[in-house]
């Protein structure tokens, strides 16, 4: 079976290869690009952290493996974006992940929301995946070569994540009365955090003008074209848009990020400067 693994031949972009190429490069991102990358990295990191909570708790062994794959993809995206962002500040991915406090995290609030039951997680993943698919497809054409390279790999991976979630929304929506009720509730809980993903902010807008960032509001039509029809076709009701404050990109968070970070960072912070 020696032919059955070709990972050695793989030339896929990895956090390690990014760090290596940046170490010998004089072309490091400026603070604006790095801050943009930081927000993207935090989105993926916080989502991966939540997905990791599912392992050994999924509804069936096959789903343990599936959610693990999605979590590992997200963690990979996080590490790549954080490595790139950190190069502007002289920090490693781990220094950024473990030694920043809550107000310094720039993720959208959707990603930090607790998993809830499987339906609530699927609702969150579905909203997240639609956003990521549109975002990374756009970002793959960025004028910033590193962002474009990271996004090009990520775009293929989140395509699969979206497909996985679409399958589950259909099954839970049209499955049993209980699954329909839970899926509807999951959507209600997560819907409030969808709008924030598509709000523009001044720092991002200035990068959009340079052809580096993707305009968040430009992603909204893709969401509107896909999500409400899917919800209706799955025997569910599109939740009423509610007002949310948002502000994740400015370091404002819901009640859920603090405990998540406290757990994630506890060991690393107990041994500052240690290597693992």
């Amino acid at each position: 079976m020696s032919h059955s693994t070709n990972h050695i031949a793989s030339t896929a972009i990895t956090p390690e290869s990014i760090a290596q190429s940046l170490a010998s490069s004089s072309d490091l991102p400026d603070v604006a690009v790095a801050t943009y990358a930081l927000g993207l990295g935090d989105d993926a990191l916080v989502l991966a952290q939540r997905l990791g909570e599912w392992i050994a708790r999924a509804p069936e062994l096959e789903e343990d493996v599936a959610l693990g794959n999605i979590g590992l993809d997200q963690l990979g995206h996080a590490r790549s974006f954080l490595t790139y962002a950190g190069s502007a500040f002289g920090k490693t991915e781990d220094e950024l992940a473990y030694f920043r406090d809550e107000p310094e995290f720039l993720n959208h609030q959707l990603f930090e929301q607790p998993n809830g039951d499987f339906a609530q997680t699927i609702a969150k993943q579905m909203i997240a995946s639609v956003y990521f698919v549109a975002l990374y497809r756009g970002l793959a054409a960025s004028n910033d070569a590193m962002l474009a390279a990271i996004a090009a790999k990520a775009a293929k991976e989140v395509d699969y994540h979206l497909d996985h979630c679409v399958q589950w929304v259909k099954r839970l929506g049209l499955g049993t009365a209980e699954s329909n009720r839970r899926m509807q509730r999951g959507l209600e809980v997560m819907w409030a955090f969808a709008d924030e993903l598509f709000r523009s902010d001044a720092p991002t807008d200035s990068l959009v003008a340079l052809g580096i960032a993707v305009s968040p509001s430009s992603l909204r039509p893709a969401f509107d074209a896909l999500v409400p029809p899917l919800i209706v076709a799955s025997g569910l009701t599109v939740p009423v848009t509610t007002f949310t404050r948002g502000g994740g990109r400015a370091g404002l968070h819901s009640e859920s990020l603090g405990p998540l970070l406290a757990e994630m960072q506890v060991l690393a912070r107990a041994h500052p400067g240690a290597s693992w």
Binding site: M1, P15, L45, A48, Q49, G52, E53, I55, A56, R57, A58, P59, E60, L61, E62, E63, D64, V65, G68, N69, G71, L72, L75, G76, A78, R79, L82, E93, D94, A97, Y98, D117, F118, K170, R171, L172, L174, G175, T176, E178, S179, R182, E263, M264, V266, L267, A268, H271, G273, A274, S275, W276
Partner: protein, 334 residues
């Protein structure tokens, strides 16, 4: 016409035919074992062989599934993102391994739902090692180095086990496991190269896991009554004590590279035997933990039960959806 007599005669003839088939089957089964060939699901096999295999494979599967917990406990707190990714991939592998093994057991006529039920009702046994807790990060290193190391010693010979589906599952598992032991060793190596607190964490963890890992090979040969039959059936290839010795012999030089001390005062090279001597193990502890009185038995089983029960509505929803889709396809055809 006496119907009763006819039925009796028929039954006798059937029983005779079955007996002849059994005898032919048994001859064939013994030939397969003698020639180191493989037994496949549709072959005749003795009931004892089938039962022993079901027990062994399902316990092995349960161990993989329960074994996810002591490590998934640390995914959220892994101290670097690289370690987090490695640990997630490893625990995910264990779900896969449990699944491969349950599939192998299922070819013998016991399905996954039945095995899950036995596990969450506490009827089934699994490797007692997973009833120990993992209070420190170094335990991720010790589990990889010592626990997976011992498991690999046990598992590599099982790739040649006489039952085909079990052997095939083990080939896949061993291939995937090869990174598990190495990543554990490297966790400990990093700790031993680190600060005093990290070194202390590593040594303390190795102190706790060494003896339980040695006990993973099972009781001493003289107290292992089923081993002989299992060896004859080629579903156990080496004795418990042989494997344990092999493991200790590998461990000592690895511990030297790490710079950790193995907590065994009797550990020394025996020139005459060409092996390391090691101290007696506390088998009363082994039997206590195996009997469900270990530090985490109840936690492990109830956590598995919780996951299974919380997932029931999801599994049922997907089934209902599949049934409805199949129904509407039939409707279209008709």
């Amino acid at each position: 016409m006496n119907t009763t007599t006819d039925v009796t005669t028929d039954a006798r003839a059937d029983a005779r035919a079955a007996q002849i088939a059994d005898e032919a089957g048994e001859r064939r089964f013994n030939e397969l074992l003698a020639s180191e060939s493989r037994v496949e699901p549709s072959d005749w096999m003795p009931e004892g062989y089938r039962k022993t295999l079901i027990r062994q494979i399902s316990q092995h599967g349960h161990s993989e599934i329960i074994g996810m917990q002591p490590e998934s406990n640390w995914i959220a707190r892994a101290p670097s993102l690289k370690r987090k990714a490695i640990l997630m991939a490893k625990v995910q592998d264990e779900a896969g391994h449990g699944l491969y093994l349950y599939s192998a057991a299922q070819t013998l006529g016991v399905d996954r739902e039945t095995m899950f039920d036995q596990l969450i009702t506490g009827k089934a046994k699994y490797s007692s090692i997973f009833n120990y807790t993992t209070p420190t990060w170094a335990d991720m290193g010790s589990i990889g180095w010592l626990v997976d190391g011992a498991a690999i010693c046990n598992q590599v010979p099982l790739c040649r086990v006489s039952y085909g589906p079990y052997g095939r599952a083990m080939v896949r598992i061993c291939k995937e496991e090869s990174f598990h032991q190495r990543q554990g060793f490297e966790i400990l190596l990093e700790l031993m190269r680190g600060t005093d607190a990290q070194k202390e964490m590593a040594q303390e963890s190795v102190n706790r896991w060494y003896a339980p890992a040695l006990m993973m090979f099972g009781p001493p040969d003289e107290d292992s009554p089923n081993s002989k039959q299992s060896m004859a059936w080629n579903i156990k290839r080496f004795s418990n004590d042989d494997l344990r010795q092999r493991f200790v012999d590998m461990l000592v030089p690895q511990a030297e590279i790490l710079g950790v001390t193995l907590p065994d005062a009797a550990l020394r090279w025996n020139e005459e035997r060409g092996h390391y001597d090691f101290g007696d193990l506390d088998w009363s502890e082994f039997h206590e933990v195996l009997a469900g009185r270990g530090p985490a038995n109840t936690i492990r089983v109830s956590r598995r039960r919780e996951a299974h029960e919380n997932g029931a509505w999801v599994r049922e929803a997907a089934r209902a959806y599949a049934d409805a889709q199949a129904e509407s396809r039939r409707g279209l055809v008709a």
